[in-house]
Amino acid sequence: MEILMSILIGFLFMAAVYLILSRSLLRIIIGTGLLSHGTHLLLLTMGGLGGKSAPVLADGITDYADPLPQALILTAIVISFGVTAFSLVLAYRAYKVVGTDNMDLMKGNEDND
């Protein structure tokens, strides 16, 4: 299971890097979204998969899941949601004001201000 997860995480990271390196603003934002998913899965995997029951103290339960990665991922998902929403709005405004979504044309120098 861990190996399967690792492959999935690697695939997500690969796709994210490919998208972030492209010129279109929207692709870059989707790339950061994929990167965040990969990171969340990595957190889950590194915390250790397995654990048959919920992390609630009860008699006779010894094999329980680690609750900490789940709490961390929950926090990180909220943050990634907020950040992605913000960057989408920013991309839209930038597209309207600057007039392009091509990062190559957004270098900003004296002729191109």
Binding site: T32, T39, H40, L42, G48, T75, S87, L90, V97, G108
Partner: protein, 494 residues
């Protein structure tokens, strides 16, 4: 009474939320936000003095004993930075009152400044690595809004780069956290330090430490500063001053904390690698500071130079040099805020930003001109101004440990700083007056007063270095002896 140390985080957040509802009442917002910042400064002075008598203070949220719960830890280093940050923010707010414009003020400018401060203070105070990530995000989200607020073309163009690079750095932070959690199984900084010391810093932990180094370097502008000059030169003056003073310092703080408390076992990373990165940062920052003619870019590259200088203190790694770095961080927060305010005010007064388009401002605005001279001297490290003490201590530490290359680079950079700022001074402040008395824009009192206040701060920090030395020595002692911090956190209730 330990609840005191959560106030620098909780007050700005609460007040910020209240200010959202007070949107139409601009004057009320101004008053409340200024009082809040002064209040935090008072609280941090009080806490700082308590740390001197009672030792490091910690607050376990909801009573969960470390290492199980999230906690705040206030040592002298953190509290000194919180104190300076709140003073500088208060002064930048005074400048914003007259410079930012009502359009910004009605678009939640003050709440976001307070959220930014909350994130900054939280990052300084937290004792939990994941909590550090969360506080970073609070700070960054507020900074994303502040940098784009106004929505002009250059702002949007540069802020996209700023936002994307910071999002990337944040997710890499989380990747590093995941690996660290998988390796040592804890997130409490003191507990991580204990476990790393027990297990020894093997190849795996070294790799993780490099990941952390990359993440914090991106935030601090150490070597990976390519995003910094562009994005720090576009926002309104008061915001740029806040960014220049506070944001990189949080990254620097994180570097100091992780590489003195957790990953201090391998000198190849914590000293050699950081030393090389700091050296290159200094060189490239110096080239940038000389190369450009735009005042905003010159002062932004000065931020980069300061980052390199402060990190040399960490790379040298003796208690003296770390004390020097702490002095220099405090000095740099004040002086960089002053420099950014001066540069922004200069652009406001003349309407130009290139140094060869301005001239002879000293005849129109004498006090303004001399303030610029003061900050130039202060940043170059001329006694008795505040930059001197930090520079001499870092230099002394470098000599003690025999790091002569870093020593040379550090002191050569001071000359370049002096040159780059004198170039602005001679071109714009001295020279022939080209603005006639009829054409000159009147200097607003609200713009010159904060600059003078920061000028007084840099003089008194220089003259009062002796007064501060007790606190700084304690901070440096805690940083160079991780066991002090660990005992305070893991040692149970006092």
């Amino acid at each position: 009474m330990n609840n005191l140390i959560v106030l620098p985080l909780i007050i700005p957040i609460m007040v910020g939320i209240i200010l959202v509802f007070l949107r139409p009442y601009v004057k009320l917002q101004r008053a409340i936000s200024l009082i809040t910042m002064i209040g935090i400064a008072v609280v941090s002075i009080f806490t700082l003095n308590r740390i001197q008598t009672d030792g490091i203070i910690r607050l376990d949220f909801a009573g969960w004993q470390p290492p199980f719960g999230i906690l705040f830890v206030a040592d002298s280093f953190a509290m000194l930075l919180v104190l300076t940050a709140s003073i500088v923010t208060a002064i930048c707010l005074i400048h914003a009152f007259s410079s930012i414009g009502e359009r910004h003020e009605k678009m939640y400018f003050y709440p976001f400044v307070l959220f930014l401060v909350a994130g900054v203070n939280g990052s300084f105070l937290t004792g939990d690595l994941f909590n550090l990530f969360v506080c970073f995000e609070v700070m960054l989200l507020a900074s994303y809004v502040l940098i784009t607020l106004g929505g002009t073309k250059p702002q949007l163009r540069e802020s996209i780069k700023y936002v994307v690079i910071n999002i990337l750095a944040s997710w890499f932070f989380l990747v590093a956290l995941a690996y660290l959690y998988g390796t040592v199984g804890t997130l409490n900084m003191a507990h991580i330090s204990e476990r790393v010391a027990e297990a020894g810093q093997g190849p795996l932990l070294t790799t993780i430490s490099i990941l952390f180094l990359i993440v914090f370097s991106l935030k601090a502008g150490l070597l990976l500063f390519f995003w910094l000059p562009g994005s720090y030169s576009v926002p309104p003056t008061a915001v740029a001053a806040l960014f220049g003073a506070l944001l990189t310092k949080v990254g620097i703080y994180a570097l100091f904390r992780t590489f003195t408390l957790i990953f201090y076992h391998d000198p190849l990373i914590s000293q050699t690698l950081i030393g090389i990165m700091a050296g290159i940062t200094l060189i490239v920052g110096c080239i940038g500071a000389i190369a450009f003619k735009d005042v905003r870019l010159i002062v932004s590259y000065n931020v980069v130079i300061a980052v390199g200088f402060i990190l040399i203190g960490l790379a040298v790694g003796t208690e003296t040099s770390i004390a020097g770095s702490i002095y220099y961080i405090i000095h740099d927060m004040i002086a960089k805020a002053m420099l950014f305010l001066l540069a922004g005010t200069m652009i406001y007064l003349t309407g130009k930003s290139k140094i060869d388009e301005m001239s002879g401002l000293i005849r129109n605005y004498p006090l303004f001109g001399w303030m610029f001279f003061l900050v130039t001297c202060s940043l170059a490290g001329i006694p008795p101004l505040s930059g001197f003490v930090g520079k001499i201590l870092v230099g002394q530490g470098a000599i003690e440990s025999g790091s002569y290359v870093l020593l040379t680079l550090a002191f050569l950079s001071s000359i370049v700083v002096l040159y780059s700022l004198l170039r602005i001074f001679l071109n714009t402040i001295f020279g022939e007056t080209i603005i006639s008395l009829e054409d000159e824009k009147p200097m607003k009192m609200g713009m010159i007063i904060p600059i003078v206040l920061l000028g007084i701060a840099t003089i008194s920090l220089g003259l009062g270095a002796e007064f501060l030395s007790g606190y700084v020595a304690d901070a440096a002692h805690t940083l160079s002896n991780p066991s002090v911090y660990i005992d305070a956190v893991m040692g149970g209730d006092k």
